[in-house]
Structures are given as C-alpha cells and as structure tokens.
Amino acid sequence: MWHFFNQAEYSIAGDSPAGPEIEFRGQNVSGLIEKQTDEGGHFILLLAGGSPVGAYVLEATGAKSIPISDFSSIAYSDRQRLHPVKLTDPVGRMVWLALESKPKGKLFLASDNDWQNKVTDWKASRWTGLVEVKAGIYQGFAFFWQGEALMADVVLYTPEGFATGLSSLGQIEAANREITLYEPEKASSAFQCFVLRQGAVRWSHKILSRYQELVGKNLLQVMNSEVNHSIQPWNWNLALAGNTLVDRHFFPQLQLATYAYRTLFMGIGAQMSFMIGNHLAQRIFSDTFKMILPDETAALQAQRLIPAAFTN
C-alpha cells in the first residue's frame, strides 16, 4: 500500500535502481518516488521540475525529513517495492505541504453533502490547514488558507489523471470519504513558499484589477503579454491572465520563488510606470499592498517584495 496515489502507474525505462529519479531529473518534471524496504521502512523522495526537494521517512506521527542522499542509498528488493509517480507542479506542491505538515486528525464523511457542509464550515471559520481526501481509488488534497482554497491548491487523483479545483472533488464517485486534517509547520519551506505564493497571487490580483480599472482590459492585456514574454526565458509555469497571476510552478526553495515573483513584479512595475507614470504605479503598488492579508504581507516583506522595490 503506497502513501500517495496508490493506483497511479508509471513505467520505468531501464534497469537502474535509480531509474525513475534519473528520468524525472532528465525530463525536468515533478514527481515522487516511494520506496519500501523489507524491514517495513517507507521512504519518499519528492522532485520539483527535476530537482530533488526533500526525502522523507514515513512514521506513525507523520513524515520526517532525511538527507536526500540517504534515500538513494536505501536498498529495496524488487521493483514492486518502488512506486514512482509523475506529478503536475500543483500536485507536487500539495504533496510537499502534506509531507511537511503534521496530521491532526481524521474524519469520515458519508456523502458529498457532508463534504460540502464541512467546506462551508472551514470557509466560515477561516480555517487554515491541509485536507487529504481518500475515497476508493481517489486521493485529493486541498489547502484552505484562512477559509479560502485557490483552484490550484485543490488537486485530485482520478483514474483519468490529476484534476484541480474544489469542484474536482465532486468527481469522487465513492460515497465514504476518509479525511485527514494536517496542520502546517509554520517554519517549513513548503508552508513559507505557500504563503509567499498566496501573497504574490493576491497582491498581483489587486494590482492588475486596479490597473485594469484605470486603463481598460485591452491595455491590461498588452501589459500581461509583455510581462509574460519577458519572463519566458526562465520557463516558469507562471503567467498573467486577465487580472490574475496563474501560478502553477513548483518552486523547491523559497529563494527561487522570491526571485520569480520579484522578476514578475518588476515587469509589472516597469510596464505600469511606462503607461500611467511612476507616481501612479507606485501608488497602486502601495495601496494594494495594504489590501492583502497580514500573514501574506509579512511573508512578502520578509523577502523584500515590497512596493518600493518595483517602481522607479
């Protein structure tokens, strides 16, 4: 029995024991590799865009981080003891959060209605935490951030592949759902990256919406197209679409995420200053910065992602 996406299959080319890891690295894709030893040890390696993010040993109280090199040296008897899964970036991010959070309890919900009621409760109480849903062959994760769950932060494994968005959880056909609630480790890189991403997404949404109000949809589209073009060389799975930052990239380190968001905000700032002038651009950056959640503000400030940094 595997911990993540038990039914997902991935065929490994070649006989090398390090096969899937090398393949994931070579293809620059995100993925996870679970390994079980004859002694009952259960280990996991997570990769983001081909780069190892962390290795973990599964224990009764949750996942514990181990050196990445230890994972490679762990022997296993046959291929049946290896479970590689290619992941999309949003799924990788959720798996990372699950591995770096503490399980806090389980629930059993008998119907979709019960699930919907639970979601309503979480929204109303502005709850923050990760939810793992298991039902038959389905396994999904949803991260609720102060009661909200972004589309990219809800992922579901289905026999047809991975789906995203809260509505995707409605695809679960099995009646009984096993819910595991996780409490995020505030100091973990996974959680810090998550909060930084929420901050970047919310702040950019406020900036883009205000800019659109001032100059209209067409000029917003011009700016989006310019900024998207300017960040192309980095191959980030980031794009401005309408008044939203669509962030589907799995950054394995906080510094890498910071660099990407800084580049993106600089592009937005340069374009806005050109069109509406530096003074007004600065004002929009500052005004909207006050409109995001305090935790997000703190995360952005800690990385020096502040209004003054993005306008001339």
Binding site: G216, K217, N218, V222, F274, M275, I276, L280, A281
Partner: protein, 296 residues
Amino acid sequence: MSKTNRPTPRFSPVRVVQISAAISLILLAVFAWVYFAAPIPDDYWNDKATDFLVILASAGAALAGTWVARLFEKDEAPWRIWWAFAIGFWCWLAGEISGLVYDAIYWETQYPDLTLIDLFWILGYLFLGLSLYYQYRLIFGRQNKRGTRYYLALVALALLLIAILTNLAVSTGLGEGYAWIVLFITILYPVFDLAEGVGAIRLSLLFGRGQWSRPWWGLILFALSDSINSFYWLGGYRWLSEGMQTVFNVITNITYPAAYLVAGLALLTNYYMIKHGKAVGLTKPTKKFNENIKNI
C-alpha cells in the same frame, strides 16, 4: 474584449506615428509662416489658410480621440473618460469650422453677440471638463458615489461665479458698450481655461511621464495659449516691451494648433498601443526591466 490574437496592423504603427509627427511639424511650420509672414496678399485668405490648418489639426485630434474611445467597452471606466474627451474635441472642431463660416459671412461686419462658435466652445469645455472629472474620480474617488450630477453642480457653481464676476465687471465699467452675454463669455473662457489647465497639469504630474497622461498635455497647451490671450485682454499687452510682445505672440499663436497636434499624436500612439499591443513596437519599458533584473 480579451482577444488573444490581436489583428496585425496593415501599416506599421511606428511608421504611422512617425509620419504623423512629421506632418504635424510641417503643419506647424506652415502655420507659423502663413500667420507671421502673411504670404497671401489678401488678408481674408491669409486668415482662412491658418484657420484651415487649425481645422486639420483639430480634426486629427477628434478622430484619434474617437478611435481610442471606441476601443473601450461601455462597462469599462475609461470608456466614459475618452468618449467625453473625444466629444469635447469634436465640439471644438465644430467651433473651428463655425469660425470659418462666420468669418465668411461677417468678415466686413461684427459677429452677433452670441454665436455658434461660442456654443461649441463652451460645449467643448464642458465635455473636456467632464473627461477630467471622470479621470480624477477614477483615480481618487472610487469609493464615493458622486456621479455626473456632482460635476454638473460644479459647472453650475462655476457659471454662477462667472455671472457674479460679469456683474462686477459691468458695475466697474469694464467692457462698456458690450452686451452682458458677451462679457459673460469673455470671462468664462479664461476661467474654464484656468480650471481645465490646472486640472490637466495636476493630472499630468500625477501620471508623471506616463504615456497615458499625454493627451492631457494638449489641454495644458490650450491653457497656456489662452492665458496669454486673457493677459492681453486684461491690458497686459501695454506692459510688455516690443520684444516680449513678439515672444508672447509666437507662443500664443503656435501653442494653439500645437495643442491639437500634441493631443492628437498622443491619442494616436495610445490607440495603436491599445489595439495592437507590443507587436507595434511602441512599448519600450523592457530595457529598464532588463537592467533592473540584472541587479536582483
């Protein structure tokens, strides 16, 4: 209107803007030559030649304003700003054409007290003022519910103030021999000029050197041109040396058509940027962006 595939422009927008700028400079040079050198022996035709050049400039600005306004959908806030702006310029174009017609009719005699020219000019001021008001409201006053009625109340207040000033002028003997309405309009122009000029300057400072502010530069030039005329009307001409009179004459007469041309060119550039985006090569902040990104 979120088109992912923008239409490819038939002509290179950069070239169109460059050619338009070159034509504008030529137009301005010809205007200055005709106005100051008076090469046509007949005064009337000399005057009509300059009028015609001003009509060309104002038609260009009105057309470009309409092109920009048409790019917005009705539910977008800039829609009303740029339609008001464009209508204002169409009114002034109508005023310029009316001036040509009135000259043809009344060249040898005096204009009537109230003319269509005045009507179109005042309407132009009202629409351009409305455009400024909408722009300010979009920047500063999104939360309050003040609508167009608030603007109309402001206009009514301004008209009342001008009426009081007119009565004051009449009581002190200023403008003796002129009808009340003539004095009223004579005072109205500099007041509106001043109000819109100050509004446009403030907006321009707020936008900095942003491309979006440039159509407003036209209003600033109009205010400059008209403020010199107002200064003359108040008797300032007598206080100037002959040399300064020439300088002021050149400024007031050249800035007038230049105001239309500046607004028109800025609107034309904005039109291409909105319609075709980066493909047209009119956006250029990437250089600064590339410099900044190296320093991260």
